[in-house]
């Protein structure tokens, strides 16, 4: 029975935040499925609010230190990633984007990623697909097809019978969370992260460099 590490990133700003709530639910669904598949699961959660100043410092200095460096290290070694951002003015929050910007551009290659977002109304739900997904596609992450948007109304659903659900009778939030969690678990189960590439181990020999110049 092999271990899988799921890293959860929440870019919610308030405490408690609905983004963190969604992130925890997605992590729970993923972990349950991974356990059902026979894995032991370690869930690590990164609240970007805790690293907000350090993220800006990293953008200015070019290197991360301390707790943020440790968080990035854990993230790049994850077997699956859950990224949840609030939607601000039509897209991911600036803090979320800044965090993604300071990651090594190759560090998420092939990483199974489940996307989640929160917003005021369901009218913003496609932001996940027109802005957040392309960002991760650019980084060559393995983004699972299902992503989960939770509007304020969604938190009123109970997950019970359609009659009890006044807001999204067809596809209530708890069901979407379960489906997305299962999909991420399947990917994370199939692929164990070998960790980030060692830039020194992969450095070409000088004779190759001379030959290519």
């Amino acid at each position: 029975m092999s271990e899988r590490t799921i890293v959860v990133v929440s870019a919610g700003l308030s405490q408690p935040s609905s983004s963190r709530l969604l992130a925890d639910r997605l992590a729970g669904a993923t972990a349950r499925e991974l356990e059902a598949l026979g894995h032991t699961v370690d869930v690590e959660t990164i609240e970007l609010r805790d690293h907000a100043h350090a993220i800006v410092d990293t953008m200015l200095t070019g290197f991360s230190t301390g707790e943020l460096a440790r968080a990035i290290d854990i993230l790049t070694k994850a077997d699956g990633l859950i990224l949840v951002t609030p939607l601000f003015t039509t897209t991911y929050s600036g803090l979320f984007k800044s965090f993604i910007d300071i990651l090594d551009k190759d560090s998420l290659t092939g990483m199974p990623v489940l996307l989640g977002a929160t917003g005021g109304t369901s009218r913003h739900s496609l932001a996940l697909d027109y802005s957040v997904r392309p960002l991760l596609t650019y980084l060559r992450a393995d983004v699972i097809p299902t992503s989960v948007f939770a509007a304020t109304d969604d938190w009123a659903t109970s997950g019970g019978t359609p009659a009890e659900n006044k807001h999204d009778d067809v596809n209530p939030l708890p069901q979407r969370i379960e489906r997305a969690g299962k999909a991420l678990a399947a990917r994370a189960s199939a692929r164990e992260n070998e960790g980030p590439a060692d830039p020194f181990a992969n450095a070409p020999s000088f004779l190759d460099l001379l030959g290519n110049s």
């Binding site: 200095t61 020194f200 450095a203 000088f206 460099l209």
Partner: protein
């Protein structure tokens, strides 16, 4: 270990007075700083090469050539010379000229520059940064070590029977360093040739510096230049000192907070903890810099950035006095005590390199060819129309 200073030549407003030096004032302040460093007894002065404001050091060999004439002992160097965008033919000539003028009291460090746009300014492509550094340096070495060069590459016109002049002093080229912050390829290049490697770690945590230096050392040994711990290593550094630690912190903080590179970012507390920046008394600088040999092994050159962020000239000269007078003598004792016996104390001097080359029969000629120009068949003094006419047909080897 050599101790010295390097300038990036930034023109920055002094945040405490609002004074901004103009380019002339800044260039002259750099000359004053270099002369002062020589008089104070520091070992190295190195200048950057930049071609964009707010930097003024665009013409390193002009500056270093002047300094060669007005200084006595200090080694003149660069931090860095752009191996990517300078024509290697020009580099071969300019630095051989500097070597002759300074009587070998110089070396130089190759680098790739600090800004992308510098590439197109000199007709190059930033995406070719590493291949340019590799090809140009390979050609530069040949121009210095081979008297007559036939060459063809990707990035400049081919050379047929080309001789770069003046030939290197005593037939031995200057010692070369390679500076890189994060490219293993450059550390690999330095290792391949047995050149020096300097990690300018002023904005980086020691954990990263250590990785880069270890990689270079391992490859230096791999290519058969000696043991890993005998490789020639340099580090960057940054300090601000006053007699009392508190006075140093109070005086330097506005410069730190407004500095072009890290200002308005991390706190000085965080930055001094994570990087080699040390603000405090000379003793605190000694204590901290004395530990770097424990991290990267004994190394041969420690450079400090002192004239930046708008610090006034007077303050910079005081910093040099503190460094040369109080820090270096103590620091040298500490690091020398940690030096293994068969590890070189310093980078090789010109005299040492000449002795080594002569022992190996590898010193080149001091002059190539006769007094005739191979292309025109003309002697240097034959400039008159009459003499040209009489030799019609001799041009182009006809």
């Amino acid at each position: 270990m050599q101790f010295g200073i390097f300038t990036v030549s930034d023109v920055t407003t002094d945040p405490t007075t609002g004074h901004t030096p103009d380019d002339t004032e800044r260039v002259r302040s750099i000359l004053a700083i270099a002369k002062h460093a020589d008089e104070a007894g520091l070992d190295v002065f190195a200048t950057g090469e930049h071609h964009n404001p707010p930097f003024v050091a665009s013409s390193p060999t002009t500056m270093l050539g002047y300094l060669a004439g007005v200084t006595k002992n200090i080694t003149l160097s660069t931090a860095t010379t752009l191996i990517t965008t300078n024509d290697p033919v020009r580099l071969a000539e300019e630095y051989a000229m500097l070597q002759v003028i300074s009587d070998g009291r110089m070396d130089l460090m190759m680098g790739r520059g600090n800004t992308g746009p510098v590439y197109p300014w000199f007709g190059q492509d930033i995406r070719q940064g590493i291949p340019l550094a590799i090809e140009n340096y390979a050609l530069l070495r040949r121009l210095w070590t081979e008297d007559v060069v036939d060459w063809e590459g990707k990035f400049r016109t081919p050379l047929q029977g080309f001789t770069s002049t003046p030939r290197p002093l005593d037939g031995v080229p200057p010692f070369v360093w390679h500076g890189s912050i994060r490219s293993p390829e450059i550390a690999e290049q330095a290792a391949y040739y047995g050149d020096g490697f300097l990690h300018n770690n002023i904005f980086w945590p020691m954990s990263h510096t250590k990785q880069m230096v270890e990689f270079y050392r391992g490859r230096f040994e791999h290519y058969g230049h000696g043991r890993a711990d005998q490789a020639i290593v340099g580090l960057g550094g940054q300090v601000f000192m006053r007699k009392s630690s508190q006075a140093a912190w109070d005086e330097f903080r506005p410069y730190f907070d407004n500095a072009p590179v890290y200002g308005h970012g991390p706190s000085m507390e965080d930055f001094t903890r994570e990087t080699p920046l040390t603000v405090g008394s000379p003793q605190q600088v000694i204590d901290r810099y004395g530990t770097f040999v424990d991290e990267v092994g004994y190394y041969q050159r420690q450079l400090f950035l002192m004239d930046h962020a708008g610090l006034p000239l007077k303050t910079v000269l005081e910093q040099i006095d503190l460094l040369a007078g109080e820090v270096v003598p103590e620091l040298r004792k500490i690091v020398e005590a940690k030096r293994p016996e068969d590890v070189p104390a310093n980078p090789p001097t010109h005299a040492e390199r000449v002795a080594r080359a002569q022992a190996a029969g590898a010193a080149g000629a001091g002059h190539v060819g006769g007094t005739e120009d191979r292309w025109t068949g003309r002697r240097a003094e034959e400039g008159s129309a009459e003499s040209q006419q009489s030799r019609t047909g001799t041009a182009f080897g006809l």
